[in-house]
């Protein structure tokens, strides 16, 4: 299964394959993290991901929504249509308690994973 996230900065196809497999589930982490403090709508999520990753993470927008719907079905996020004066109707997603708890666990796992990678492959990150 593919998370729908592609890494546009990768130069080699095989490396991208490896990373896609290895970082399976990263989309969930990214979305949950961005919703941790603020409810956001889909476009805002996509824009923030693009901006914060300096374009390194780029989502096919349909896949983004597929992931959102999956998270919603699992009760990790909750969507709600909001209509504000002078604005078009948008669907805002917020983190549920279950989502917040999963986010904590995923952060810890990813941390361990990246530390391991850093120790073994000599990758360091800020």
């Amino acid at each position: 299964m593919d998370s729908g996230i592609s890494y546009s900065s990768m130069s080699s196809q095989s490396a991208a394959d490896i990373l896609r497999e290895a970082k399976k589930g990263s989309a969930e982490l990214v979305i949950l993290a961005l919703l941790e403090h603020t409810p956001r709508h889909g476009y805002e999520l996509a824009a923030r991901i693009d901006e914060d990753s300096n374009g390194a993470l780029s989502y096919n927008f349909a896949s983004l929504y597929a992931t959102l719907y999956k998270l919603e079905e699992r009760g990790l996020v909750q969507g709600r249509w909001v209509e504000r004066a002078g604005q078009r109707r948008r669907r805002y997603y917020r983190l549920t308690a279950a989502g917040a708890s999963l986010l904590g666990r995923q952060r810890e796992e990813w941390k361990q994973f990246v530390l391991a990678l850093g120790r073994i492959a000599g990758i360091s990150f800020a």
């Binding site: 476009y43 349909a62 929504y65 597929a66 919603e72």
Partner: protein, 881 residues
């Protein structure tokens, strides 16, 4: 819907995908945000940027394969009608994209609904709509019923009428009437024979007649001593009096007697189905109240409120038992028969009209089945789309709704077209029905009721056509449909289509067998020998009405015949009081054979009485089997003679020669039988021959006379010369109904001809539609199985094997339909029994022939697509697979 929602929908449509409206909204909002952000960056590629994002959108990622959960409960929550308008717009867009499919479906439905509505409108007007009388259900006709001769609607005797109408308590009013013809002369215009009614004054009020001008009859008009008064129809008023207001009060001559026009009635006024151009009062002499001789009148009666026809019947039966006791010679073997007017008017046409209506409904059902099959094929092609919807949380009931919306749009268009078509059809049908003797006012046939019916048919059609696809949609499983990759082949759908086609074939079998039975009856009727030779014979009627002395009438007839025989090209000329097959049943009476003991009252034999001139049998080429024809010498002052027909001899003189035997008629005169002639069909072709007694016109003179002249050339060409010959003898004598005898014979077959032609038309439509149904289902099946056929052919199967495989499957369906239709047709055809002649319902050879015809059509309809199946290129299919 904003621009981006439209663009997303279009994007989905072009890829055969559908997403729940909420998802579309969200994707559209996203793209719009992206577009606005891009534009704010002051670049001019915002459009292209957003469009590229949409083009790259990984829509299948939203499909269940990726276990994408339903976005939210929006599409399922809320009432069923939420989003309906959008659904309709969506459907319209999709249908516009499939113009051939849409046009075919709408045309088939318009035809089916239009024909059904037109047929219903006619049936409604002719059988169901209330009659144009006030309290029509309280109007009845009272007939005398001859029990031994099984004649339940015999005209009545005045003495009996006055007796029962005075003793009965069931009726509010009763009145006598009788159809009549009269010669009308006025203002120096040539005299004219007109048909009308003689009525007691109260009768016109009983049927609710209101005069357009002048007044109705009063009781005083009915007195025997009163001056003669006359009401005329609007048609006669305009034709003969130019619609002049002063026609009221004008003096005319009716049957040689002066009469005054007192009013004008609408032409449409009828008395229990009897129409006329004039109404005169029926004046019965005082002694008629005590007359127990002869039956010639009709009685209309209005039941008291709360009294049903059955109660009236019971009372009249009891009263008539006393009348039998009082007049045993005249009334034994008789009783009274109360017939509601609507029954009288409608019982005869009911079987034919309901048969036609049934046929039309069956055609509509076949059309529905075809449309349902088409929709099923379309549904199968859209399984992928459905699967995506299911995965996005659409409940089966919403998918079913989508199909119903699509069906409703299609059928609604068909219904509108059908109503328009019905408006035209109904005129044609009503005109045909009126030719066949079923008078229908075309003006108001397509009324609110008929349009309501069209709407109801449309609604039912939506249900019938939409049910199959909707059920198929309900069973859509997302995973299986997606796995199939949109190939859409499902055993269930194919089975549905098989059932539909078998049903179509069965319905076609029903209609076709009915049409074949009626067609065979019509052919058989045409082949019935009428007992005379109608070719090259011209006929014309003169009615000698009024105070003509018998001797003068005989002299008039002889003089006219002498002139006719002298006309060039005339080979024979004669006259008869009642022309065969003219619709006039003439006189029937009981008689006694002088050399036999007198049978008890009620068991006396009876025969048709026919006054004819000498030379009548020769002119019509009716064979004289024994004895002689009448002679001019058989005059009023000579011994009375009679000629009888073969049926008479078979029934009453089988062992002894009838020649020389003596008859006594019901009026007491005695005749000697001097000849035996062949049977002639008098009432209708195919009717059982009845005993007939011919009398010389000079010895039994009645007013009616139809001249028959056999010609060497075209009989119609002699019409003017015939009129001139009559006028030369009596300038005041009108001549009417100048027409060849062949026309008279052909007209007597109008009803069976119209019925078989109409049913034949529907049968052809049914056969065509059923064949299209078979073709469609086989063609679809072949298209679905191309890969399988390719494999079979690659593995060494011969094209013939593939052909046999396809044909075997389709012909199994056709055979199932034919057998079902044949089984069902037997009880249904029994309903046709009244319309059949010379062929039984469920006639095996007819069923076999029709079955073979349908099987042939089914085979042809299967063969064409099956041949395509044999032309599959195995290599290509294997590569594609």
């Amino acid at each position: 819907m904003n621009d981006w929602q439209l663009r997303v929908r279009r994007h989905l449509d072009t890829r055969g995908l559908t997403l729940a409206p909420a998802v579309v909204d969200e994707l559209a909002a996203h793209l719009e945000d992206a577009w606005e952000a891009r534009r704010a960056g002051e670049t001019d590629d915002a459009d292209a940027f957003a469009a590229a994002a949409l083009a790259r959108a990984d829509i299948p990622a939203l499909a269940p394969r990726h276990a994408a959960p339903p976005p939210a409960p929006e599409p399922v929550a809320g009432p069923m009608w939420r989003g309906l308008a959008g659904e309709v717009r969506h459907t319209l867009r999709q249908l516009r994209r499939a113009p051939v499919f849409t046009a075919a479906v709408v045309a088939v439905l318009a035809l089916g609904i239009g024909a059904t509505t037109a047929a219903f409108a006619v049936v409604h007007a002719a059988l169901l709509a209330p009659l144009p009388y006030a309290d029509a259900d309280r109007l009845v006709l009272v007939w005398e019923h001859n029990l031994p001769r099984n004649r339940p609607r015999n005209v009545i005797n005045p003495g009996n009428y006055f007796a029962w109408s005075e003793r009965s308590t069931s009726f509010e009013r009763t009145g006598l009437f009788t159809p009549t013809v009269a010669n009308l002369a006025s203002d120096g215009q040539p005299p004219e024979e007109v048909r009308g009614l003689a009525v007691e004054p109260q009768v016109l009020g009983m049927v609710g007649a209101t005069p357009l001008a002048g007044r109705l009859f009063t009781e005083a008009d009915g007195a025997a001593s009163a001056p003669r008064t006359l009401l005329i129809s609007e048609g006669l008023w305009r034709r003969r009096f130019g619609g002049a207001p002063d026609a009221i009060g004008r003096a005319v001559v009716l049957n040689g007697e002066p009469a005054t026009i007192v009013g004008v009635l609408p032409t449409t006024i009828d008395v229990a189905g009897f129409r006329g151009e004039f109404w005169r009062t029926a004046t019965l002499p005082a002694e008629a109240r005590q007359s127990f001789r002869g039956r010639s009148l009709m009685a209309l009666a209005r039941l008291k409120p709360g009294v049903g026809p059955a109660a009236a019947q019971q009372e009249l039966s009891a009263i008539f038992q006393r009348l039998v006791a009082e007049h045993p010679d005249f009334n034994t073997g008789w009783t009274l028969n109360v017939v509601p007017v609507h029954e009288q008017l409608r019982s005869e046409t009911r079987p034919a009209l309901w048969t036609l209506f049934g046929a039309v409904v069956a055609v509509l059902l076949i059309a529905c089945a075809n449309v349902a099959a088409l929709l099923l094929v379309r549904a199968a092609g859209r399984r992928h789309e459905l699967a995506v919807k299911v995965s996005l949380g659409a409940r089966p009931v919403h998918l079913a709704r989508q199909f119903f919306v699509e069906t409703a749009v299609l059928v609604g268009a068909g219904g509108l077209g059908g109503a328009a078509l019905a408006a035209g059809l109904v005129r044609v049908v009503a005109a045909t029905a009126s030719d066949a003797g079923v008078p229908i006012a075309t003006a108001d046939v397509l009324d609110g009721t008929a349009l309501l019916f069209a709407a109801a048919v449309t609604a039912v059609t939506v249900l019938v056509c939409g049910l199959g696809p909707a059920l198929a949609a309900r069973s859509t499983s997302a995973a299986s449909a997606l796995r199939e990759g949109g190939r859409g082949q499902t055993g269930g759908g194919q089975r549905w289509r098989g059932w539909l086609v078998a049903g179509e074939v069965a319905a076609a079998m029903l209609i076709l067998s009915g049409a074949a039975l009626l067609g065979r009856s019509y052919v058989a009727l045409q082949e019935v020998a009428p007992g005379f030779n109608p070719r090259q014979v011209l006929t014309a009627r003169v009615s000698r009405m009024g105070p003509h002395a018998q001797a003068a009438s005989v002299a008039f007839t002889s003089e006219v015949l002498a002139r006719l025989r002298a006309l060039p090209g005339v080979t024979a000329a004669a006259g008869t009081s009642f022309l065969p097959l003219d619709g006039n049943l003439g006189i029937a009476s009981s008689f006694l054979l002088a050399d036999r003991p007198v049978p008890p009252a009620g068991e006396r034999p009876s025969a048709d009485y026919r006054p004819v001139t000498p030379g009548y049998f020769a002119a019509l080429q009716i064979p004289v089997h024994a004895g002689r024809d009448f002679r001019d010498a058989d005059g009023a002052d000579r011994p009375r003679v009679a000629i009888v027909n073969e049926t008479f001899v078979r029934q009453f003189s089988p062992d002894v020669s009838p020649l020389g035997r003596r008859l006594t008629d019901s009026l007491g005169s005695e005749q000697e039988i001097v000849g035996v002639v062949g049977d002639v069909t008098l009432s209708s072709l195919g009717a059982e021959a009845r005993p007939a007694i011919y009398l010389p016109y000079a010895q039994q003179t009645i007013g009616a006379m139809t001249f028959v002249i056999r010609t060497a050339g075209d009989p119609a060409a002699l019409g003017p010369a015939l009129s001139a010959a009559v006028r030369a003898v009596d300038p005041q004598q009108p001549v009417s109904d100048i027409r060849p005898l062949e026309t008279v014979v052909a007209r007597s077959l109008t009803r069976p001809r119209v019925a078989s032609a109409a049913l034949g038309l529907f049968a052809a439509a049914a056969l065509l539609l059923a064949a299209i149904g078979v073709y469609g289902v086989v063609a679809y099946g072949v298209a679905q199985r191309r890969a399988e056929f390719g494999v079979r052919l690659a593995l060494g199967a011969q094209p013939g094997d593939v052909m046999r495989l396809v044909l075997r499957q389709s012909m199994t369906v056709v055979a199932a339909g034919v057998v079902t239709g044949a089984v069902l047709s037997v009880p249904l055809a029994s309903a046709l029994r009244a319309l059949l002649y010379g062929v039984a319902p469920g006639d095996p050879s007819t069923l076999l022939a029709v079955g073979a015809l349908i099987a042939g059509a089914g085979w042809l309809a299967s063969y064409l697509p099956a041949r395509r199946g044999t032309r599959v290129d195995p290599v290509e299919t294997l590569r594609a697979g």
